[in-house]
Symmetry: C2
Subunit: 415 residues, 2 copies
């Protein structure tokens, strides 16, 4: 396998696949893993992954700081997760009904997440957020859900960030507030005139293309108080941050419990599973809504989730991600300063977010990412990155070597 250095890279296999994909996939590729808005030379197709590393179809090796946009929390091909998955797979996966590990996975989540009394498993993060809305509506008999403007909660018609194919009815029951702005939330609730079924909130503001913003504890408490006052359900969207910041719910340190929470991504270390966790008072409503899917009861992802959540605890994964993330943040800050560039790093260090000052159309960020990729590191110009517990200190050195080149390139090109 070749290590990525800008001189020796080839993209012929990737280019050939993109050419074939242009014919048989919409737009050549779709969704959040599309490289079409990334710099040329950024790989689209991959052949292998292990630990903190991925290899593109041309055999070039990278340290991957996107972790498939979050699912990979322990590193690719984590031995204990793969062993648990393999053991379950040998017995059965998609069967005539669930395996015992579905109950065990639910018990484990209920044990780990303070507000949770029960768990409902699904496949996509979007399944989990949408199911939360349905449960809140069933419980309250109301329709309106208040969400933070610009927040990503999935790609169903009620929440997808692009409006193609979306009708006005799809969003007629969604009201919007500004994250961390209690007055805007009160106003949105007032506009809904007694019809607020739920307030949907992410543990932090992590909208793509913006600085991340931690929740203001006063806002979190105010949001909880408002829900209690008006009888609305507090829904926490943990899909992106869950099990990367804490081993329980992301607002447990604030002692602000949600009523429902939506999970996916990290809970199975890449195996496809999502979950709704809920308080006991919503158990009846949860049993009334009809949601299901052909693969929602697969046993292997449940076994993988148990192994993942267990290993996150046993291996001190959160602390490891914090350590790597802190080192990365310090290193990037020093390199930017040395290059005379102003950058903003925001949010939790486990979800690094780098923005260049005065970066129209993300031109500097794109150039930075292109050079980082040329030097063997996968990061993203508009979306937060993700650290896994497999990223170690040797990886950090190599990442910082690549980002040093990337900052120098940005300096030369834009200063």
């Amino acid at each position: 396998m070749k290590a990525a250095v800008s001189q020796s890279r080839t993209h012929s296999a990737d280019a050939a696949l993109r050419e074939r994909a242009r014919t048989v996939l919409p737009g050549g590729m779709y969704g959040h893993l599309s490289a079409s808005a990334l710099p040329p030379g950024y790989p689209q197709f991959y052949q292998r992954s292990e630990g903190a590393r991925v290899w593109d179809v041309d055999g070039t090796e990278y340290i991957d700081l996107m972790c498939s946009f979050g699912p990979i929390v322990l590193g690719y091909q984590h031995p204990k997760v793969e062993a648990a998955a393999a053991a379950q797979r040998a017995r059965g996966d998609t069967m005539a009904g669930p395996a015992a590990c579905m109950v065990e996975a639910a018990e484990l989540l209920v044990d780990r997440v303070a507000h949770a009394d029960w768990a409902l498993f699904a496949k996509n993060g979007t399944d989990a957020t949408t199911t939360c809305l349905m449960i809140a509506r069933a419980a309250t008999g109301r329709s309106t859900v208040l969400a933070a403007a610009g927040a990503y909660h999935g790609s169903a018609p009620w929440c997808t960030p692009k409006l193609a194919g979306v009708t006005s009815h799809d969003r007629a029951t969604i009201g919007y507030y500004r994250y961390n702005d209690m007055a805007s939330l009160e106003q949105a609730a007032q506009q809904a005139d007694g019809d607020v079924a739920a307030v949907l909130v992410s543990p932090l503001r992590h909208d793509a293309g913006y600085d991340q913003e931690l929740v203001d504890p006063a806002f979190a408490r105010g949001l909880r108080a408002l829900c209690d006052r008006i009888g609305a359900v507090l829904i926490m969207d943990e899909v992106r941050a869950g099990f990367r910041l804490n081993e329980g719910g992301s607002w447990e340190h604030l002692s602000v419990p949600p009523d429902l929470s939506a999970w996916s991504k990290a809970i199975g270390n890449g195996y496809p599973v999502a979950a709704v966790l809920g308080s006991g008072s919503l158990s009846d409503a949860a049993s009334q809504v009809y949601v299901t899917g052909s693969f929602w009861f697969q046993a292997v992802p449940m076994a993988a989730a148990i192994a993942t959540i267990t290993a996150i605890h046993d291996e001190g994964a959160i602390a490891a991600m914090e350590s790597f993330g802190s080192g990365l943040r310090r290193g990037l800050a020093e390199q930017a300063r040395a290059a005379g560039l102003t950058v903003y790093q925001t949010g939790p260090v486990q979800m690094p977010n780098l923005r260049f000052a005065d970066d129209e159309n993300f031109a500097q960020a794109l150039a930075f990412c292109a050079t980082a990729a040329e030097h063997g590191v996968i990061v993203h110009p508009r979306h937060n990155w993700f650290v896994s517990a497999a990223h170690n200190h040797r990886d950090l050195e190599r990442v910082l070597e690549a980002t040093s080149h990337a900052f120098q390139h940005v300096r030369r090109r834009f200063s």
Copy 2:
């Protein structure tokens, strides 16, 4: 492992798991695999699956005629599918981007399904049907979608069969016609007053709890002509029937092509994958809608899909299912006649559907299924069953032995 005979069965492990599940899963279990509306003694939890067989958590062996409600088309743990999945898994599954097999899977589907020029992969059948609606709306700039009343197209708010948690807005753009009733379709189109984005249709009427009904070729042609006349998109929901009746689209023998088709279940033999297939004219619209999911680009299910679709062809899976299904239909008909019971068997033999005459609240069907389970065969009282290519003639003998007991039991109890 114990073979199921009514005397020796125990349910202690299943009962213990149900007790734990009552605490941590909504309603003790949710969705289409819930055994809560099935007779006591019908297993809820399974420990193993292989070929045509499943084993419940008490170690009792069954011939499974539900195939996990469709996904298992070649039999559980099919060697070629598992080998392809294992080979891909050793390289990578959920990665920084898709693997080459995503393009190969799209090319294979485009090759096999006559109307398809491109493929978009997702995870749930509901993802696929919902994405079809979005693409049709993006393409036409219209909102209304006409669907057959009572048809199952997934469990999103616009289509789930129960109304808990559903708002009036969720269905404001859905109009309804009666399957195989051209006049009702014309009327529904007229009511939409020029706003019909799409007509959604299943290849046959397979509503749970009713006799199945093959499509009337004149209705299929009329539906196509209506879509052409009013500029609406014809969406075929192949999720349940796809790759079980034909190796291509289910209406190819009628020469009635859809514009979009939604697939899932059988295409990965139990691995979680869904697909939208589309005509070239809708490729632009498909690239405009934003739909995605954390696990939609998993490489292992794509590799499994390629192996499954290839094996369906190479192993003559459709013919094998037809042969078993025909034998089962004949055998059931003879047994019912011998027992003096009137039953209706409808639809394709690969998707057996058994209804008892004058069967209020499915009481006879429930008794039939309970006895069949006691004798080691899993079938369903209200939903069509599914044959796989792993069901062989020895299995048929054993199934018919069990159903013979079941018919005798129904005769004794209800005549």
